[in-house]
Each structure stands twice: as structure tokens, then as C-alpha cells.
Assembly symmetry: C2
Homo-oligomer: 232 residues x 2
DNA sequence: CAGTGGTCTAGACCACCAA
DNA sequence: TGGTGGTCTAGACCACTGA
């Protein structure tokens, strides 16, 4: 055999599930039974089952057995980066404002801080081929290592700004996507003269204690962005 | 020890990465070295490393070693279901049309079929608390097991419609999210009288040969939807 | 060549579950 | 009590990398 034995086991069981021989909540044969069936050691069988479990095909209950899982029909993975999406690439960025402010009540609530703590505000405009395509607004709790040089801020994405100081692996992030009409200020920034919808993406970044450390809203011209995701 | 040994190894190495002792592209000590360091067998160490690899912390190159990966800053997971999102739940669905048509060139292209093959069209309106919130349009290549009873179609989500017949595990799906203004037809369906942005979600479902088997567009009133995603 | 990760084995003990 | 999955070991052979 060219392929490792555990992969052959994985493919065989996957095929049984996909063909309907094994249905959701059906029991997969026990590890000892599979071990005999495939002429492999129990550890090899377990390696195969671990892969199936990881791919969402099965789950195991100690003392009982392994069972076929119901497929995840609604799960998608999306790679979002405010400066690079599937139908346009930001080729220029203009810094409108970098400032230190006292948050108002709403912002203090979002960042779970108090209204007497300093917050960094960054406002940017993104351009594609000379045209403004997005208005970007960020609020960050200051921490050491953050880019404070204007040139750095102009080019950095949201996670990059906070990850200078914090271990990037332990960052938790939330994304929120909606559509709305532009207000007068955004219309001015994005050169919108007639009716045009905005795609609004909010990001929130948390440290590993689940405290928010940054909040970001990006307003994209609806005709210049399409977010893409896929299963698997 | 309460926890299994391999988890202790995982936590220890994670901590070394998060604290900066191990930086991206640094080499993790060899399996034999870790085996001595933790007083564990090589297989136990490997189990730990496999988890770290799976969580995106490290990667391995045969013959060379294991190395710390750069963190994925842009990856998000989103659970999308046209009938149930984070700020509203569709509590009623009205079927506007079920039909069999010959696709035009554009649609035939999307579904990678020819203009003389039949395609099922389904048009629905979704309601929340009596108000129309979304206009939903689906094109499906017919296959056995598909719901053809009106009652079923009214309540089913897109993956559910095609997964009656096909093994749901092997479905590949694509998602595309954008914002646009409603046309006159949609304004009428969604009772839009003034300017309101739409959030438009396109789904495309492929079988395991990567042939598209369905295409779906849902137009949500911008004031009734917010898609949520998160990292991890 | 010695060292690395990848695969595989044949045992072992454990906690858990059901009859 | 016997069967299940979960953990762990101490070996083995392999293909690959780099000096």
C-alpha cells in the first residue's frame, strides 16, 4: 500500500458514512472490531478514528463507543482583512486622525473600560486605484509595543496593531457584518453622491482573559466589496 | 497528575509560544528531546505535538523538525443559516413560487449546466413577527430525494434541500456577502418605502465532484440582520 | 552518516458503561 | 462482569534532510 493504513481506514469509513451505510447517531464498530477487520493494531485504528472525529464525522463516548455525527450544514470559514478582500485590494491608505480620547459611555461599555481611561482613536480612509472605498474607525486600549509611528499605523490591519504587544495566538476575535445607508460624513469621505449601500464590518479583539482590547468598524462602499467564505 | 500527560505538554509548549520564548519559525525541540524532557514516551510527545499542529501553533517537516507557525490573524468561523441569524429568527415563511425552468446563459454558467437542462426555481419570503425581512431565491439542479412537497420547501434551509439526496458530509459550500440597494421588485416584497440597504448573501453548493448543484441568493433588509463570526 | 519526523505494533492499565 | 474508549509505553522500521 502506498498510503498509510490509517488513511485507508479513514477513507473506508468516510465512504460508508457518505454512502449512507452508516447514518448519523449510528455506532461505528468498536476499536477492537475495526482492529480485527483491517488487520491493524488498535493504535492505528485509533489514529484513523481521531482524524474522523477531527473532521466532524464521528464523536466518541468513553465506555460506550463511537458514533456518526450529524453534519455541520451551517459552518463557514471566512478570511477577513479590512485591507484585502476578494474583489478589491486596498493599495493606498490615508490616516485621518490618531488621537487619545476619553471614551463616552457607549464606547466604554464596548471596551469594558471606564470613561476616565484613555483610548486611542484611529481613523483611516482606504483607497483602490485612487478612489476611496472604505472608511475605517478603530478604538484601542493602549498597551506597550503598539505602533505609534504614523507610517506603521497607515499600513497595519487591526489584529496587527494589537499583536505587536500581545501574543497573537491567544487573541480571540469577533466579527459582525451588516448593511446600512451612509450618513453625511461617510458620504463625504467615500465620495457618495447618490444612494449607495454600505457593507459594515465590526471587529472586536479580546485578550486571553476575554477582556476587549480593541474595537473596529469599517464602512465599505457596497460596490467595492464582497466577503467570501467556504465550508471545510 | 489529573490531566493526561500529553495535555500538560501541550499547555507547556503553548505557554512558551504565547510568552514569546518560542517565536514563529523557531524550531520546537525534537520529539526525542521532548521525550527526555518530559519523561514521556515518544508517542505521547507526538500526541501533544499533533494537537498543537491541529490548533495551528506548529507545523512539522519530515526529516527536519517541528516549527512554530505564524498565527492566523484573519480567520473567522461563521454559522450562517438563512432562516436564523443572530438578531432575528424567521418565524414564518411564504412560498412565492416553485417552478421548473430552462436557465438563461448566466444561470447556466453559475450552475455549470447547459441552457436545455431543467432547473428548479424556488422563491420565498421570510417573516419575523409578521414583517417581511428577507427575499430568498434558489436554483437547484433536480436530484432524487429532494423535497417537492410545498410544506417541506417552505421550512427547509438551502443545505437541507439538497442534502435529502446527497451525502451531506461531502457537500462543499461557498458563501458570498455583499451590500446593495433594493430594486423595485424587492422593495415591494420587503415593504421598503424609503432608502434602506440590503445585505445580500449568496450560497453555492457543490457535490464531491465539485460540480455546483445549487445556487441561492437571499436579500435581507439591512435593519433586520447582522451576521456574526468569531475566531478559534 | 546521525538525526528528524511518520508509521506501526503488541502489549498494559484505567475509568466508564451496561447488563 | 465484560466490553468500551482513553492513556501510555518501549520498541521497530521507514523516508527524508543536512553535514
Amino acid at each position: 500500500m502506498i498510503n498509510p493504513m490509517y488513511l485507508a481506514i479513514v477513507e473506508d469509513i468516510k465512504q460508508k458514512i457518505n454512502s449512507g451505510q452508516l447514518k448519523p447517531s449510528d455506532a461505528v464498530p468498536s476499536e477492537n472490531a475495526l482492529s480485527k477487520e483491517y488487520g491493524a493494531s488498535r493504535m492505528t485504528v485509533r489514529k484513523g478514528l481521531a482524524i474522523l472525529a477531527n473532521d466532524g464525522y464521528i464523536y466518541s463516548i468513553p465506555g460506550k463507543g463511537s458514533f456518526v455525527r450529524k453534519p455541520e450544514l451551517n459552518k463557514y470559514t471566512i478570511y477577513y482583512n479590512e485591507m484585502n478582500n476578494s474583489i478589491n485590494k486596498v493599495d493606498q491608505s490615508r490616516l485621518l486622525e490618531v488621537n487619545i480620547i476619553m471614551p463616552d459611555e457607549k464606547l466604554a461599555g464596548e471596551l469594558q473600560t471606564t470613561i476616565n481611561k484613555n483610548v486611542i482613536v484611529i481613523r483611516r480612509l482606504f483607497y483602490t486605484e485612487g478612489k476611496p472605498v472604505a472608511y475605517d474607525l478603530k478604538y484601542l486600549l493602549y498597551s506597550k509595543g503598539m505602533p505609534i509611528v504614523e507610517k506603521e499605523i497607515e499600513q497595519a490591519t487591526f489584529p496587527e496593531m494589537v499583536s505587536g504587544s500581545i501574543a497573537a495566538f491567544s487573541l480571540k476575535k469577533e466579527l459582525s457584518i451588516s448593511a446600512q445607508m451612509p450618513d453625511e460624513e461617510i458620504k463625504k469621505h467615500l465620495n457618495i453622491y447618490d444612494e449607495l449601500a454600505l457593507l459594515v464590518v465590526e471587529q472586536k479583539i479580546f485578550n486571553d482573559d476575554n477582556k476587549p482590547i480593541g474595537f473596529c468598524v469599517t464602512y465599505f462602499r457596497g460596490d467595492y466589496i464582497k466577503l467570501k467564505g467556504n465550508s471545510e
